[in-house]
Symmetry: C2
DNA sequence: CAAATATATGAACAACTGTTCATTATGTAG
DNA sequence: CTACATAATGAACAGTTGTTCATATATTTG
């Protein structure tokens, strides 16, 4: 097999499949699944629509494949790169790093598109709701919960309901992420919202941390 | 005019127009605008599709009319029933009443449908984004901001960035509202999320209030 | 090179879409 | 009762949709 053959093989074959997915994601996330036609996808790839059917059974299968990608995307894997053992000892640093992960999603093309797809189809697609709820919301809130529980035991933060804390920490991050994606749609400035990610962590930590013995007393 | 005539008159005429809007809202909010056909709407009303065109120029005009209703809906009018003058003096009570307003939206059919419509079309409809951003987000955050500023001046709450506080108070409420609407779609229990509205206010107030002089000191 | 496999094309399909319009029915006002 | 306005109907339209399939082309394998 010559080098040229390798190159052409990479440009053809199952590479077309990933190109279909890439193009579809872009279109689905900006126009919505229903409003995107098979001709739109093929046209954006410079190919005839019938070609797509050599790689996918139908239009729904394209969406299903993209939705499956969600499970392994950064959106759902907030804790992926973080050491799961001694998490709580990092305290505020860890919270800040989670917030940063959220923030960065909005500025990576692939993840931003996946997030927009998620938001647009979540009310219509039960499978997306399931992934969002179990892999994104429940899983992360559970991990956060455990984290806050450990921090309470280590007397780093005030004791209270860890699940409530987890929700209160999570929900503004989600909201700010949505705000960023909406602002970017209209090409508006996102800077004021972007700064909220860190301000949220600062305020949140100030509220939950146990005050170190002050010299005033 | 006989009584019978009155009844038939009420069932005809401009009453049909509001029935179209009611039916369309129901369908748009559950299937999405694009996926709802003119035949769906007419069918659900027990009428032929051509009848709709006596009341609306086209399908888009139906959506536009519904979107205009958003501006005057409870979703956007969180502060509507509240006395705008001496708001800050109420402190936590006021915050709780705002949270309750949010919560109740999810349990009123009309408002729930409007919220779902908003969420489903916000990425595709610039007008909806504008209404959401200016009338819902900006306006309420601005009012909350002013409120917190007054509370700071009256030494009811700790001083800080009022705009940040407004966002941090607002975003969990929005998130919980979305969670409720998603859970209801799959007919799952909403009770754990519903209780979050109040827990949020409790925790939030505890964190921002200025501690009353305790007997410990 | 030849056979087999994988991929792309062009044309066509049936179903569905939003919309129009002449006709009919219904209710209102003089 | 008549004339008028309002609203519903049935039928049709032109365009768009997802999908199929026989055919052509390219690539891989033996």
């Amino acid at each position: 097999m010559s080098e040229q053959n390798v190159n052409t093989a990479l440009l053809r074959g199952s590479n077309t499949k990933s190109k279909i997915l890439k193009t579809s994601l872009k279109l689905f996330s900006s126009k919505g699944f229903k409003a995107t036609t098979v001709r739109d996808i093929a046209g954006a790839m410079g190919v005839k629509q019938s070609a797509l059917y050599n790689h996918f059974k139908n239009k729904d299968e394209i969406l299903e494949t993209l939705v499956s990608e969600l499970t392994s995307s950064a959106i759902v894997q907030i804790f992926a790169d973080k050491d799961t053992q001694e998490l709580h000892k990092q305290g505020k640093t860890l919270l800040m790093s989670i917030a940063t992960t959220f923030k960065l999603i909005s500025f990576d093309g692939q993840n931003e598109a996946l997030f927009k797809l998620l938001m647009q189809e979540i009310y219509r697609n039960e499978r997306i709701r399931e992934i969002y709820n179990e892999h994104f919301y429940q899983e992360n809130v559970k991990k956060l919960s455990g984290l806050f529980f450990s921090m309470m035991q280590n007397e780093m933060i005030k004791s209270g309901d860890p699940l409530l804390l987890a929700n209160e920490f999570f929900s503004p991050l989600f909201f700010y992420q949505m705000q960023v994606s909406l602002l970017k749609l209209d090409k508006k400035s996102t800077s004021s919202v972007v700064s909220m990610f860190e301000k949220h962590v600062d305020l949140f930590w100030d509220n939950i941390k146990i005050e170190k013995q002050s010299t005033l007393f």
